[in-house]
Amino acid sequence: MSAEIIQFESDVVVERASDEPALVVDVEGFEGPLDLLLTLARQQKVDLSKISILALADQYLNFIEAARKLRLELAADYLVMAAWLAYLKSRLLLPDSDSPEAQSAEEMAAALAFRLKRLEAFREVAQKLLDRPQLGRDVFARGDPEPIAEIKHPQYSATLYDLLTAYAVQRQKQALGKVRFAPRKVWSLAEARSAIERLIGMSADWSCLDDYLISYVVEPELAASVRASSFAATLELVREGVLDLQQHAAFAPIYVRKHVPGPAPAKGADATPSAAVKQ
């Protein structure tokens, strides 16, 4: 078979040089080699079942030759078919000899005829299909369909376990996680100042500041705050010249009195603490 094809192809190469008028070969109009064969077969104007495969093979091979002469690019499908037809032709021409297991040449020819018939049949039914009334071309569906409205009913589901877990988790979290900052009880400087001003007005004598404070410090936890604020307020008042202040020693009680204008306060006579602070 390969010898045949090589022979065939070399013929073509030889003929390519000649200047013979070319056949009009329109390979693009064909849907593959089978389609080309079918078209050629129709030119025999006989029933496909009575077609001469030998003649058909010749026609096809001539066509290919012509195409090659025109240096047309032929798809591989066409060349494979040419090779196969050349082989078939040689088998049909030579008496069937050996190899009983191989397909006989007649069977091969019949298979080709079958494929041609089948392709033609599919062509026909495709056309018939296309000729049917088509939706959107010949027949029409409702142009303005009324869609079925879907009324969605949400259906929630939860289990009692979900519910109880949700309850317990958040209660627990709240109970344990809530940091309560007790409102810090403080005696503000302003409070202290106004309180001291009022207290000082009650007595012009030296008094222990703590005595004044005690009467205000109802709750024990306020003591520190009251002491600090009142001390700061006292210093402020001393600076402003409203108060006099004295302390005998570090950490000793602090005495205050309404500022007495004039020379340094009398000392010793009334056994009051001596180191008066004056700023």
Binding site: P133, F140, A141, R142, G143, D144, E146, P147, I148, A149, E150, I151, K152, H153, P154, Q155, Y156, S157, A158, T159, L160, D162, L163, L164, T165, A166, Y167, A168, V169, Q170, R171, Q172, K173, Q174, A175, L176, G177, K178
Partner: protein, 236 residues
């Protein structure tokens, strides 16, 4: 094409209903035009598309009369004609679909607080939960049909009080609201652990629909404010 015509012939021969035989071709044409059109058609358009000489008015009137009792009617809207499903069959064109939804954690927690602490106001729920509540949470819960506005608290601002519904009790498989487990049961089941501060209490909810002393009834308008879009009617 031929086969269709042939079929029609057969039909007409078999079934000599004078009514259909005499039915003017114009009615067939109108029928097809109006059926296939994407939009309603006015007289002018119809006339332009029909063959000359057709009495459009008469054909439309005949068609309208013919379809009047059918499942599809020929209606005229805004001067244009179209086929529409008979209005009494609108139910046929709706489909009820159940859409399973999952409650958000916030909703579930809120629901739990309402269940235990009812009647409870929004501010009270927020206090128990320790977070402020988005508007949608109550809406979702109202949608479930498991909670309802019960009344208003006799307090400044007269806030609405919420409680659970019968649907709640039945959904969660409770016989009555007081079947909700109390503190000891919650502890026993491990849902609450032992690390609870003294004084921690779980209220014992009651499903007595009667308003509490500190509640006053909702006014009719309360339910129209969109506060309770799906409150169950007749539920008290």
């Amino acid at each position: 094409m031929a086969s269709v015509a042939a079929r029609r012939m057969v039909v007409e021969n078999e079934e000599p209903e004078p009514k259909d035989v005499q039915r003017p071709e114009a009615m067939r044409l109108l029928e097809a035009l109006l059926f296939a059109s994407k939009e309603p058609l006015d007289d002018k358009t119809l006339a332009a598309r029909l063959p000359a000489g057709v009495d459009l008015k008469a054909a439309l009137a005949a068609l309208q009369a013919e379809y009047a009792a059918r499942g599809v009617n020929l209606v005229r809207v805004g001067g244009k004609w179209s086929f529409r499903t008979a209005s009494d069959l609108s139910w046929l064109l709706t489909r009820e679909a159940v859409q399973p939804k999952k409650l958000s954690r916030a909703a579930l927690e809120t629901l739990a607080v309402i269940a235990y602490h009812q009647p409870v106001t929004r501010a009270e729920i927020e206090d128990v939960r320790g977070v402020s509540m988005s508007r949608g949470t109550i809406d979702v819960l109202l949608e479930t049909g498991w909670i309802r506005p019960r009344g208003r608290r006799k307090a400044p601002g007269r806030p609405i009080t919420y409680g659970t519904t019968d649907a709640f009790v039945s959904h969660f498989g409770l016989e009555q609201l007081s079947d909700l487990p109390g503190l000891d049961e919650l502890k026993g089941s491990g849902l609450l652990d032992g690390r609870l501060p003294p004084g921690f209490a779980v209220p014992l909810p009651s499903d007595d629909p009667a308003l509490h002393e500190d509640e006053e009834p909702l006014e009719p308008g309360d339910l129209d404010l969109g506060l309770a879009p799906r409150a169950e009617p007749g539920e008290d």
